[in-house]
C-alpha cells in the first residue's frame, strides 16, 4: 500500500512536530511518521495513562498546535528502507504490513539516542540508561521507594533525577563526570539563555538534599543477578553507594542512519545542513539532534524553519535564523561542557561485555585493527541493535567509526524485506528454472 505526502516527516519529537505544523499550516499535505506508540519523541515521551507526565507547557503547546494543523500522524511506523528516490518503506509492527510512502520533500527529525559506555557490571538487571529509565517509568514501571543512583553526563541527568523523584524514587546521588571547571563556563553562559537558567534553578530546587557531584563517574555496578550497589570514583578516591537502580547515560548520539542511507552528507558524525536545514540532497531537510545535540528549543525552531522552507516560505523561515543560531550556540556549549573524560575509556576490564547483543568482551576487541575486523572476527555490532549501542562505545574506546549503512535500518520480518507480492505478480510463484 502506497501513500503520497507532499512533505513527509520522520520522527514526531519536538523538531518533527514543529516541522509538521509549519508545513501543514503553509498548505502542504503532510504526513508524520514515528516508531513509538505516541508523539513526543524521547524528551516529550508521553506516559501511558498510569504514568502520565507532569505538565510541560512547551510540549502541550506544540501538541495542541500540531493537532490543530491538518498534518496526519502515523505512529508505530518503523522506516526500514529507501528503495528508490522519493520512496520510503516503513514497517508497521502491530499489523505486520509494510507501507510505502512517496514524497516530494522529506524532513528527517530522527532525534538522538543515549551513548552507553561499558564498565564492569553494566549489563546487570537494574542498570538502565538515564533517559532509558525515565522512558521505562513513563511506560509503566513503578520506581516508588526505589533507591536510584543517576550517573553519566549531560543535562539529561538532572532532568531524569527530578522526574524520578516525582515518581517516588529516592535519588541517592547524581554523579556527573564533567568537572566543575568544565561546567562553569556553561553555567555562566546560561545567562544568555535565561529560560534555561530558570529551568536549571527549578531542577536544583527540586533536588535539594540530593548530592550532585561533578567530576565523578561510575567504575562498576555490583551484584550477582541484579544490581545492589554502584561504585563511584572521583579520580582520587572511590566509594560504594548501595542502591536498587542505576540510571546511567553519557550524553547523546545522533540517529543519522536514515540520513546516511539516503546519501546525505555527514560532517563529524552529524548531518550537514545549510541555513534552511537543507541537507546535501536538495529535497531532503534535517532538523533537531541529528544536526547537532542542542536540545528542545533548537529543535523547535529548526523544525519550523524546515517546515517553512519545504513549502517555499523561505522569507518567513529567514526571520527565525537568528534565534536558531543562538540556540545552536547553546548546543556547542553543551558539547564542550559535557565532553567525555579520558578515564571513561579505561573503565572496561578484559571480561567486560562491550557488545550486548553478541556478548563480545573488551579483550576480544582491543586487539582488532578496525570496526570491520572486529565485526567479522567477533560479531560485535552484528546483532539486532545493528551497532546502535556498541558503535558509539567502540568509537569512544578505540576510535573506530562505522561507515556502512545498509537496509533494513531495523530488524524486520523476512517477508517485509521486499515489496509485497500480489497474486498478479505471479512470475515469482511460477519460478521453476529450466536449464
Amino acid at each position: 500500500m502506497t501513500r503520497h505526502a507532499e512533505v513527509l516527516i520522520i520522527g514526531a519529537g519536538p523538531a518533527g512536530l514543529a516541522a509538521a505544523t509549519a508545513a501543514a499550516n503553509a498548505g502542504a499535505r503532510v504526513t508524520l511518521l514515528d516508531d513509538n506508540v505516541g508523539p513526543g519523541g524521547q524528551i516529550w515521551r508521553g506516559g501511558t495513562p498510569c504514568a502520565a507526565s507532569p505538565q510541560n507547557s512547551a510540549r502541550e503547546t506544540a501538541l495542541r498546535e500540531f493537532r490543530g494543523s491538518k498534518a496526519s500522524l502515523l505512529t508505530g511506523r518503523r522506516v526500514a528502507d529507501a528503495p528508490e528516490p522519493h520512496v520510503l518503506r516503513a514497517f508497521v509492527e502491530e499489523t505486520g504490513i509494510v507501507e510505502s510512502f512517496t514524497w516530494d520533500r522529506l524532513i528527517l527529525a530522527t532525534g538522538a539516542r543515549e551513548r552507553f559506555l561499558p564498565f564492569p557490571g553494566w549489563t546487570l538487571p537494574g542498570v538502565f540508561g538515564a533517559g532509558g529509565l525515565q522512558a521505562l517509568v513513563k511506560g509503566g514501571y513503578s520506581v516508588e521507594g526505589k533507591r536510584v543512583v543517576v550517573a553519566g553526563t549531560g543535562p539529561l541527568l538532572l532532568a531524569v533525577a527530578v522526574h524520578l523523584q516525582q515518581y517516588g524514587a529516592k535519588v541517592i546521588t547524581v554523579a556527573e563526570q564533567a568537572s566543575l571547571r568544565a561546567l562553569l563556563p556553561f553555567a555562566v553562559k546560561l545567562s544568555s539563555h535565561p529560560g534555561k537558567l530558570v529551568q536549571g534553578a527549578r531542577y536544583r530546587a527540586a533536588l535539594r538534599g540530593v548530592p550532585y557531584r561533578t567530576g565523578c563517574w561510575p567504575v562498576s555496578a555490583e551484584g550477582i543477578d541484579r544490581l545492589t550497589a554502584v561504585r563511584l570514583s572521583d579520580g582520587k578516591k572511590s566509594w560504594t553507594e548501595a542502591c536498587d537502580l542505576l540510571a546511567c547515560g553519557f550524553h547523546l548520539v545522533p540517529n543519522t542512519e536514515l540520513a546516511s542511507l539516503l546519501g546525505c552528507k555527514l560532517v563529524d558524525d552529524f548531518v550537514a545542513v545549510g541555513p534552511t536545514q537543507q541537507t546535501s540532497i536538495e529535497s531532503i531537510y534535517c532538523v533537531g539532534e541529528p544536526t547537532g545535540i542542542a536540545g528542545v528549543d533548537a529543535a523547535l525552531i529548526q523544525g519550523r524553519i524546515a517546515g517553512l522552507a519545504a513549502t517555499n516560505k523561505t522569507e518567513e523561515a529567514k526571520t527565525l535564523f537568528k534565534k536558531r543560531d543562538r540556540e545552536q550556540a547553546f548546543g556547542k556549549r553543551l558539547d564542550r561542557a559535557f565532553a567525555l573524560r579520558a578515564e571513561l575509556r579505561s573503565l572496561a576490564q578484559p571480561d567486560t561485555i562491550v557488545c550486548r547483543c553478541e556478548d563480545v568482551r573488551y579483550s576480544q576487541l582491543h586487539s582488532q585493527q578496525s570496526w570491520t575486523d572486529a565485526k567479522l572476527q567477533t560479531r560485535c555490532g552484528m546483532g539486532p541493535c545493528q551497532g546502535r549501542v556498541c558503535g558509539p562505545a567502540v568509537q569512544t574506546l578505540f576510535g573506530w567509526r562505522n561507515s556502512s549503512i545498509r537496509p533494513p535500518l531495523f530488524p524486520i520480518p523476512l517477508s517485509a524485506l521486499v515489496p509485497a507480492t500480489t497474486p498478479a505478480s505471479n512470475e515469482i510463484t511460477q519460478l521453476q528454472e529450466t536449464v
Binding site: P83, G96, Q369, S370, T372, D373, L376, Q377, T378, M382, G383, P384, Q386, R406, P407, P408, P411, I412, P413, L414, S415, A416, L417, V418, P419, T421, I428, T429, L431, Q432, E433, T434, V435
Partner: protein, 373 residues
C-alpha cells in the same frame, strides 16, 4: 627489497589456507592483503562445507577438502563454529526424487555416506519445511563454519609459523619473481600465488566471471532448521552460464541464526542490494519454508563469486616463471579452501598430491600470456 620464498596475494580463506600449508612446510611466506583479511568474498559467503557431485573432478576436490576440514575440526577455535549438521538436498517432486536416488549412488561410489529420506522422514527431520515435498538426500558429514573466523585461524597459524602479513596495500603488477604494490614497493619471491577471490584484476587473461549473490541473516531461532537445506534445483541454478537465477538454500548457524540464500547474477559489478532478485530469492525460500516469512531479519548483503566456464577452480601454474593461481571457486571457495591449500603447497614444493591435480590446472583453459611488471 624484501624477499620471500612465496608471496600469497589475498588473505581470504583460500589465500590463508595456502599460506598456512606453505608456512607449515617451512617456506618463507609473505601474504599481501589490501584491506581486511577475510573481508571480501570470504565474509560474504555462506560457509557451507559440501561435497558436490556435479562432476567427478568436483566430487574429488570437495570430498578431499571436506575431509581436511574434518581433520582440522578438533583444532578449530570456537569462533569458527564448525558444525557437522549435514546437508539435505530437498526434492519437490518425483522427478527430483529420481535425481535423489541417482545422487545417492554417485555419492556411494565415491565413498560419501548419504541417506535417502522419504516425504515423511524429511518432514520429521525438518518440520518447518512445507508439507507435500517428495523427500530428500541427507549427506551426514557435510557441515557449516563461520568463514571469516576460519580464514583468521588459517592466517594466524601461518603467522605463528613465521609468515608475514603485509596489510593495507594492494598488489598491482606481477613479474618474474616480483610483485609491485600500489605504493610502488617491490617485493621479491621465488613463487607467487594469486588467491584474490572476486578481485580479478591481476589475472585478466583467465576466463573468470563474477556472479553476484545475495544473503539474508535472521535473528536467533535455535532448532528452526537443523541441517543445511538446499533444493535440487540449486544445481541447475549454479550451472546457468548466462541467466540470473535463484534457488532455495537455508543454513542454520550454531548461534541459531538462519542464513538464507541463494541468488546468482551475471554481468553485475554493483554491490548494492538488487530488490528484484532479492524478492525472487525470498519468495522461493518462503515457498519451501513458509514460516521463514515471520522471522526477524537483521541484515541483507551481497557478494561476488568468481566462476570459470567448466565450474572447476583454477589451481596451479599459469606461467613458466613461478606464478600460480588458486582462483575461480564459484560457490565452493569455503569448502575447497583447505584442499586448495594442500594442492598449492604441493605444486610449490613439487610434492605428490592426495588427489589428481590435473583437472584443476589452468593450462586446461585457453589463456594469454600474463602481463609483466
Amino acid at each position: 627489497m624484501t624477499s620471500f620464498d612465496v608471496l600469497i596475494l589475498g588473505a581470504g580463506i583460500v589465500g590463508s589456507a595456502c599460506a598456512m600449508e606453505c608456512a607449515r612446510a617451512g617456506l618463507r611466506v609473505g601474504i599481501v592483503e589490501p584491506s581486511v583479511p577475510g573481508g571480501a568474498a570470504t565474509a560474504a559467503g555462506m560457509g557451507h562445507l559440501v561435497v558436490m557431485d556435479d562432476s567427478p573432478a568436483q566430487m574429488a576436490l570437495s570430498s578431499y577438502s571436506r575431509s581436511v576440514w574434518q581433520d582440522l575440526s578438533s583444532s578449530l577455535p570456537d569462533t569458527v563454529e564448525y558444525e557437522q549438521c549435514g546437508t539435505i538436498w530437498v526434492a519437490a517432486d518425483e522427478d527430483e526424487m529420481d535425481e535423489v536416488h541417482a545422487k545417492s549412488s554417485t555419492y556411494a561410489q565415491a565413498g560419501i555416506a548419504s541417506e535417502v529420506l522419504s516425504s515423511s522422514q524429511l518432514a520429521k527431520e525438518e518440520p518447518n519445511l512445507r508439507s507435500g515435498l517428495a523427500g530428500g538426500l541427507l549427506v551426514h558429514d557435510d557441515g557449516v563454519i563461520y568463514p571469516p573466523a576460519a580464514a583468521g585461524f588459517f592466517l594466524g597459524t601461518a603467522l605463528s609459523q613465521g609468515a608475514q602479513l603485509l596489510r593495507g596495500r594492494a598488489a598491482v603488477a606481477l613479474g618474474q619473481g616480483s610483485v609491485t604494490l600500489e605504493d610502488g614497493t617491490q617485493l621479491s619471491a621465488n613463487q607467487i600465488v594469486v588467491a584474490t577471490g572476486s578481485d580479478l584484476r591481476l589475472v585478466p587473461s583467465l576466463p573468470l566471471q563474477k556472479r553476484k549473490g545475495h544473503l539474508v541473516i535472521t535473528d536467533r531461532y535455535p532448532g528452526f532448521v537443523r541441517h543445511q537445506l538446499v533444493e535440487l534445483g540449486y544445481l541447475k541454478s549454479a550451472h546457468k552460464l548466462t541467466a540470473d537465477s535463484v534457488a532455495f538454500n537455508v543454513q542454520p548457524r550454531r548461534t541459531g541464526q538462519l542464513l538464507i540464500g541463494s541468488s546468482r547474477q551475471y554481468g553485475s559489478d554493483d554491490p548494492a542490494v538488487d530488490a528484484s532478485i532479492l524478492s525472487r530469492m525470498l519468495e522461493r525460500a518462503q515457498s519451501y519454508m513458509p514460516r521463514l516469512a515471520d522471522l526477524s531479519s537483521i541484515r541483507v548483503w551481497t557478494g561476488f563469486r568468481a566462476a570459470t566456464p567448466d565450474k572447476l577452480p583454477l589451481i596451479g601454474p599459469i606461467s613458466e616463471d613461478g606464478v600460480f593461481v588458486a582462483v575461480g571457486f564459484e560457490g565452493l571457495g569455503i569448502t575447497n579452501a583447505p584442499g586448495a591449500g594442500h594442492l598449492v603447497a604441493d605444486h610449490l614444493l613439487g610434492r605428490r598430491s592426495a588427489i589428481d591435480p590435473t583437472p584443476y590446472l589452468p593450462s586446461r583453459v585457453p589463456i594469454l600470456e600474463p602481463s609483466h611488471a
